[in-house]
Amino acid sequence: MNAPSITTTAQNEAPSRNFDLAAASKDALKAALITLGLSIPILSYKTNQSGADLFLTSRWGLVAIICAIVFGLRLVLHAFTASRAYAKATPSAHQATEPVGATPNAFQHVSKFAIPFFLGVALAFPILIYLIQGGLNESRYWVDLGILILTYVMLGWGLNIVVGLAGLLDLGYVAFYAVGAYSYALLSTTFGLSFWICLPLAGILAAFWGMILGFPVLRLRGDYLAIVTLAFGEIIRLVLINWVDLTNGGAGISSIPRATFFGLPFTAGEGGFAATFGLEFNGMHRMIFLYYLILALALLTNFVTMRLRKLPVGRAWEALREDEIACRSLGINTTNTKLTAFSIGAMFGGFAGSFFAVRQGFVSPESFNFLESAIILAIVVMGGMGSQIGVAIAAIVLVGGPEVLRNLTFLQSVFGSGFDPNEYRLLLFGMGMVAMMVWRPRGLISEREPSVILKERKAISGSLVKEGHG
């Protein structure tokens, strides 16, 4: 909460070249004092435990550093807003008056090149890593990270249908992820069904649950809907913990059968994948197969979403997001429209869940807590709700970022040897969500192709629509 916000005082002042340092310092001092107040006692004293007793250690040095940082940031922010106000008030000769339509900004240029670029990198990723790391076994860590990121990309795209397109805030998305994972785990361990049969079944079951849960709640208003989906997510998790006969409770289900290469198991012996194709056996074959599997699933999600947007149902979703009352007066069946979005989103969550189960070989309820929902939501929100490429970039940055930071050794020399960026990951997610809503509520990449075109393609400025964009 130490991130400073834009004040009104700096903006209302008449723009002048001279930056009022005294006033800015005074305001920055105020912000620092508030930070000091907020840090007492939660930052300044740490509770440590020895045996049954708690004792306190004080950390005033840390508080002083944070207050100084807030002071500095606030001052910089004032300087920044002052210079921007000055630039706005004195337009340069080159710049015409602001155009009515949208001028593509730097972010919007990105998406044109980004899509083929990202697709190419994603397709070639295992090969690139193999070449860079110089061996299959050396590249294990990176391929694993790639799988993790792609899982979140897929979940983000799945949730994007619900949140970004239909404008329904779903805080219990992880419930469908759990349904998919447990469907595969139970079907394969109990009935011995293979992954390729279970994958569609898991999707169907998750969509079915989406419908069951969605049907009663979808006539609620936006924030009530969010809370009820949250409640459902928690109920499913608690049932998974407590229904020990079926789910083995908190211990989870282990030794779930691994995925096969369309029937060929990834084993060392005769009839395995390596033997059939005349390769030397290596455990990495399975990893690379999983990588391409999740890439295909993620791309399928994206493809289906993009096609659905062009269908009447997709257009109805977006219309619903913009104005529900208008939709109802135009004769759109809002309940059915919401239900399709909800269950299709759930279906992709189910696919991702059954992939999760086959990758881990182990599922337990702890993988499906509210925090997981919040992470997926953070990816969708920070990617810009409704933007497919934005969600992918957000997943790469938010999931891959902390992993990369962890490997940077110079950070450890700055922050001490025990420094682990993963501890601060959620802290930054929370701040990022707030910052995103305050500064760029329409997402980092606020451009999308309109789904219906009259004569020529035109980008639509985000400021012309009420919610979302495009």
Partner: protein, 306 residues
């Protein structure tokens, strides 16, 4: 019978804690129509503030009287938590007025994630047990099977503090100019602004009052359970929100009533059915109430304006 009376006492104690938190939800919803998702975490934060000041007062300053220490802790925690409530509103919610419909809720979820992880990073992930504060009990009567129905001093303290604060709070909302401004903003913010009410200040004060009451709940929670961890904001937060919805969101007596009902349901459910499913019961009530009676017990039905 003995179990029934005992659970009634426990339920009312728990219910007063939920009621105190629920007021924060219901007031904010009444005035700006948003679900302040971070309120549960403000409550958790206040429990930590109370814990640290209790340790400072008892071990460093050597105050031996627990009641006196609690009194000071309560006041300090109210002030500091109010500051948090104010800062959260100022940074995360105020710039979003007039933004799109879901923006404040998403921002609130961000604040909630931030606060719980802030406390985790600052104070560590482990449960923090407090030294036992008030241990004495009054045995009300003894059952035939030797089961004592007991009313502990801490339960008395919790119910008394809640009752006193609710009275003060009721007086503020009904009789003072701040309360009038608040009720005016609740009815029509634009009109209130035209009549010279500082709307931003009123909304800020609403958050401050909500946070102060949550801090009382936090201190009482710490006193009652004697242990707190960074993740303790979520479930009580959702239960208190359930209480607010059950009582009729926007209605202050409704929040207290809802809190008491939720507290009673939770304790009786744990006693007579299964303790594992007590949270499932609370979450199910939330879903059922929102689906079938979204205006709650004392709330006004919502009219949709086009």
């Amino acid at each position: 019978m003995e179990i029934f009376v005992q659970q009634l006492i426990n339920g009312l104690t728990l219910g007063s804690i939920y009621g105190l938190i629920a007021i924060g939800y219901t007031m904010v919803f009444g005035i700006i129509g948003m679900v302040n998702f971070a309120h549960g975490d403000v409550f958790m934060l206040s429990a930590f503030i109370s814990l640290i000041f209790f340790l400072i007062l008892t071990t460093w300053l050597g105050i031996s009287s627990v009641v006196l220490a609690l009194f000071f802790v309560l006041i300090i925690a109210m002030i500091l938590t109010s500051l948090w409530g104010w800062a959260v509103e100022r940074i995360a919610y105020r710039p979003l007025r007039g933004s799109f419909r879901l923006a404040p809720l998403i921002s609130a979820i961000g604040v909630s994630i931030f606060l719980s992880n802030f406390v985790q990073v600052a104070q560590g992930a482990r449960n923090k047990p407090t030294p036992p504060m008030v241990g004495d009990v009054i045995v009300l009567f003894q059952g035939a099977s030797g089961y004592n129905v007991a009313l502990s001093y801490k339960q008395i303290i919790i119910m008394m503090v809640t009752a006193v604060l609710l009275t003060v709070f009721w007086y503020v909302v009904q009789k003072t100019s701040l309360g009038r401004a608040q009720r005016a903003c609740e009815q029509d913010r634009k009109m209130a602004a035209l009549l010279g009410i500082n709307v931003d200040r009123t909304i800020s004060l609403t958050f401050v009052i909500g946070a102060a009451l949550a801090s009382v709940a936090g201190t009482m929670y710490l006193l009652y359970y004697g242990v707190v961890s960074f993740s303790d904001g979520f479930v009580p937060g959702v239960k208190a929100f359930t209480a607010a919805v059950l009582g009729g969101i926007g209605s202050l007596p409704g929040a207290v009533l809802g809190g008491l009902i939720i507290g009673l349901i939770e304790t009786f459910w744990s006693a007579y059915f299964s303790i594992e499913y007590k949270d499932v019961a609370a979450f199910s009530i939330l879903a059922i109430v929102l689906i079938f009676m979204p205006s709650g017990i004392l709330g006004r039905p919502e009219v949709e304006k086009v």
